[in-house]
């Protein structure tokens, strides 16, 4: 409105309703400067300048999947002992050196990869890379440290395996991945106790190699100079990995609901799993938006139904889980024991509604804005950008995918969203697991359909 004169004020007894302000023009996102180089060893290095705080985030990603049943235990003990000593430094000396650089460095693994990751004060980047090179080239897996660490790891795994979220996740993975290695990501305490230092040294020699690895550096750095530093400090890390890619994921086979008894549970942990596609698939942006509208953000149908309307749960959520071998859709809700069956029913009902009726134009615009905005936020930090880039490059994507994705989201139509929902969110294509006090939830769950008990 462009009224030149103000209307005379009228004294209202009731305050005038206020109007929610409209959004201003969409701000322009500045693209960070980046540089990339493939070293002679095959190591791919990406350096991105994002000043802000005087730190550099470091992510070295080494492909680390393997089909052997012994692999999860060996790979977890390896991750926990890689920093336990080198040819030149003991565990404590190495940790003290890292501290003095203001560095934080840790090693982790999952079914796909090993990550040596952390952050360092800008001034210490070269020295940190020197220590990383020393670890890569000469981690010694000292027998005494390995013995201590595998016992501690076995204890920590026992603690993890007492968490309902871990137990139900493992049950779902078994159902969703069948005989694929993704079904057994978490090692057992017994298998961990049996790992020897010699096995770790061999695994390191076989698999911790640069040829298919990627190093991402993000932070207060000059990209070209950072690449030079990497090239000189990591020149001695060479060799080829003996690893082979994991087979692609088997298709999701709908099966009866699996009921896992956990005596003493005061909640029922519901997990559903279904098909999904990789980020580069043409219908991925539509699936991403359909999933958000279903249960992927707070303003979704699932949250508004089973939390904000019915109060069954604190945080239901639906997400797409991306691995190198393939992608899956996973829905989770931890609900009061007494409402296990009604909560499952509503969760299925909302899936069915997504698959049989299109979402509204308003819902589509909301999830589109959210997807674009939350992507920008998640990569607005040094650590967030480093982790995201490392994961993307690990599946063959990269900065370009990040830059282009908002445009792909902008182009998704209602029809495409509906098609993706029909294909991937249909209840007939999903399987489910419920973990809880079986005696209290079995009968009511059985009224909804067939049940198998673990």
């Amino acid at each position: 409105m462009t009224a030149a004169v103000e209307t005379p004020a009228i004294a209202d007894a009731v305050p005038t309703p206020k109007v929610v302000p409209p959004l201003g023009p969409v701000p322009r996102v500045k693209q960070p400067t980046a540089a990339e180089r493939i070293l002679r060893s095959g190591l791919r290095v990406v350096a991105v300048r994002r000043p802000g705080v005087p730190l550099v985030e470091v992510r070295l990603r080494v492909p680390f999947g393997a089909a052997a049943p012994s692999h999860p235990a060996r790979s977890s003990v390896l991750a926990n002992t890689m920093l336990a000593g080198t040819a030149e430094h003991s565990q404590v000396e190495l940790a003290a050196e890292l501290q003095s650089l203001g560095a934080d460095l840790s090693v982790s693994t999952d079914s796909d990869r090993l990550i040596v990751g952390g952050a360092v004060l800008r001034t210490g980047l070269g020295s940190l890379l020197g220590l990383v090179a020393e670890v890569l080239e000469s981690a010694s897996y000292p027998t005494r440290e390995v013995a201590g660490e595998r016992s501690r790891l076995a204890e920590r795994l026992a603690i993890l395996r007492s968490q309902p979220s871990v137990l139900v996740g493992e049950a779902l993975n078994g159902r969703l991945y069948g005989s694929h290695p993704y079904a057994r990501e978490l090692a057992t305490p017994d298998a961990v106790q049996a790992v020897t230092a010699a096995q770790l040294r061999k695994l390191h020699a076989d698999r911790v190699r640069p040829d298919a690895s990627v190093l991402v550096l993000v932070g207060d750095l000059a990209p070209a100079r950072a690449l030079d530093t990497v090239e000189s400090t990591l020149a001695g890390w060479t060799g080829e990995s003996t690893g082979r890619p994991l087979p692609p994921l088997p298709p999701v086979q709908p099966q009866p609901l699996l009921l896992v008894d956990r005596p003493g549970s005061v909640q029922a942990s519901i997990r559903l799993g279904g098909p999904a596609v990789r980020r580069e698939a043409p219908d991925y942006p539509a699936l991403q938006l359909a999933n958000l509208a279903y249960g992927g953000y707070f303003s979704s149908r699932l949250v508004e139904n089973i939390r904000e309307d019915k109060g069954y749960t604190y945080g239901p959520h639906s997400r797409i889980s991306h691995g190198v071998a393939g992608s899956r859709l996973v829905v989770d809700a931890d609900v009061a024991t007494a409402v296990a069956a009604p909560a499952l029913l509503e969760t299925w009902y909302e899936l069915g509604r997504m698959a049989t009726l299109p979402i509204t134009a308003g819902e589509l615009e909301n999830v589109r804005q959210y997807a674009v905005g939350s992507l920008a936020l998640s990569i607005s930090t040094q650590a967030g950008l480093a982790s995201t880039l490392s994961a993307l490059i690990g599946v063959g994507l990269g900065l370009d995918w990040l830059r282009e994705h908002p445009r792909r989201l902008a182009a998704v139509t209602l029809e495409e969203t509906f098609a993706a929902a029909r294909t991937y969110l249909a209840p007939s294509g999903m399987l489910g697991v419920v973990l809880g006090e079986a005696a209290e939830i079995r009968d009511s769950l059985a009224t909804l359909g067939p049940i198998e008990t673990a």
Binding site: P54, S100, R156, G311, D334, S374
Partner: protein
């Protein structure tokens, strides 16, 4: 840049045009310590109610406006404050301010929404505490051993009986008393012009009627004069765990005496070269994981007196709590009598500095740190000074802090496992 509106609202503006994002945070000076007896968990329940609609917004509208603008939101309840915040693309700044102003003016609290959120909060407590091993360890379990008075000792998540007794009238009283503009700090950080930001703040918040700022009671407690211990069974836990807490100097009034404890926590438990990792984990092998830190909610710089230095550890199955505590005491004594090793203080300082930077890199982290410092210390400037203040902590001060971690000054909580391994 700061100002105070006529209704008493304190406003802190920190423009930063490096990326097109803004953060809006409102910190109310009321937390778990202020909830009335018989109403444990009320501050947190009330936080949930602040999302249930307001003067001009239906239920669910708040979430939808934030997220459909491309932003994220949350709120959290602490011992001394409750916060609400959004991170948004900078073109949604006016909208973010509107949303916060609208619920500061009048949240829409109905019987239906109250019952709904009581149910949601009960599920939150089940998923985070009751249905998992070590639930609330040690942040909910140690305070009743360490403190005597209701404000400091009670369970901030709340007893189910208390939560179920909450009424709409309780909520209206709580809002009237504690959610006055004069009892809050509004912090805006990010991509905006300071004059425009100030004009927008004025447009949205200036017409909220002022109410008196409530008096904040003194929650101080007298120090422990002998050791206290408690053991709790945890049927879900596979291995024993132990936590010990010691009172520390006033984190606001005696900030200079308090800071050495921040450094001490690092000396004792940061990384494989720290003293307790070397002794308990690598040496004695009585512990599988441990941490030593300040603040029961891990909040060293936005908590008021009284607070605590906390040591927590999961034991190896055969190790007793006393073995762990005795060895820790030996390490405290060794530090108190022998002092720091050459280079130890320097490397710990470097790590602390890096941690401070890492926490401040996300815009939300920076906003929360500024807002917390402004509310609790009355000085957001503290944040910029922190690296220098930490660097000024001397070896003698760290040594003196270690000297206070004596067995007769500690409160100990043990978790006795009852779960099958």
């Amino acid at each position: 840049m700061r100002t105070v509106l006529d209704n008493g609202l304190r406003v802190l503006l920190a423009p930063d045009r490096s990326s097109p994002v803004v953060a809006v945070a409102v910190y109310y000076d009321v937390g778990i310590r202020s909830e009335p007896e018989g109403r444990t968990g009320f501050a947190h329940l009330f936080e949930h109610l602040m999302f249930q609609g307001s003067a001009n917004l239906e239920k669910l509208a708040h979430f939808r406006y934030v997220q459909s603008s491309g932003g994220t939101f949350n709120g959290s309840t602490h011992l001394d404050y409750t916060n609400y915040f959004e991170v948004l693309p900078s073109n949604a700044l006016s909208r973010g301010l509107f949303l916060e102003a609208d619920r500061m003016r009048s949240p829409r609290i109905t019987e239906e929404n109250l019952q709904n959120q009581i149910a949601v909060v009960k599920e939150e407590i089940r998923v985070n505490v009751l249905n998992r091993p070590y639930g609330g360890f040690p942040w909910l379990l140690l305070p009743p051993v360490l403190f005597d008075t209701f404000p400091n000792a009670h369970n901030g998540y709340g007893d189910f009986v208390d939560l179920e007794s909450a009424t709409v009238a309780d909520a209206a009283d709580f809002f009237d008393r504690y959610y006055a503009p004069a009892n809050a700090v509004l912090t805006v950080v990010g991509d905006f012009d300071p004059d425009e930001g100030l004009a927008l703040v004025d447009e949205h918040f200036a017409d909220i009627p002022g109410r008196p700022r409530p008096d904040r009671p003194d929650f101080t407690e007298s120090p422990l004069d002998s050791e206290r211990r408690k053991s709790l069974p945890d049927p879900l836990a596979p291995v024993p765990a132990v936590a010990a807490g010691w009172r520390v100097p006033d984190p606001v009034g005696s900030f200079g005496d308090y800071l050495p404890y921040v450094v001490l926590g690092e000396v004792l438990s940061d990384g494989d070269a720290s003293r307790l990792e070397q002794r308990l984990v690598q040496g004695d092998r009585t512990v599988t994981q441990l941490a030593a830190y300040l603040g029961l909610m891990g909040d060293p710089f936005d908590v008021r007196d009284p607070t605590a230095f906390v040591l927590q550890a999961h034991q190896a199955p055969t190790a007793s709590a006393d073995q762990v505590l005795d060895a820790a005491t030996e390490e405290f004594d060794r530090l108190a009598t022998g002092g720091l090793a050459k280079g130890e203080l320097e490397r710990v300082r470097a790590r602390l500095l890096a941690q401070v930077f890492r926490d401040l890199d996300p815009m939300l982290g920076r906003t929360q740190a500024l807002a917390g410092a402004e509310l609790v210390h009355g000085r957001a400037e503290l944040l910029a000074e922190l690296p220098g203040r930490l660097a000024d902590v001397t070896a003698d001060q760290v040594q003196a802090a270690a000297e206070t971690l004596r067995p007769d000054r500690r409160a100990v909580l043990e978790i006795a496992p009852g779960g099958a391994q």
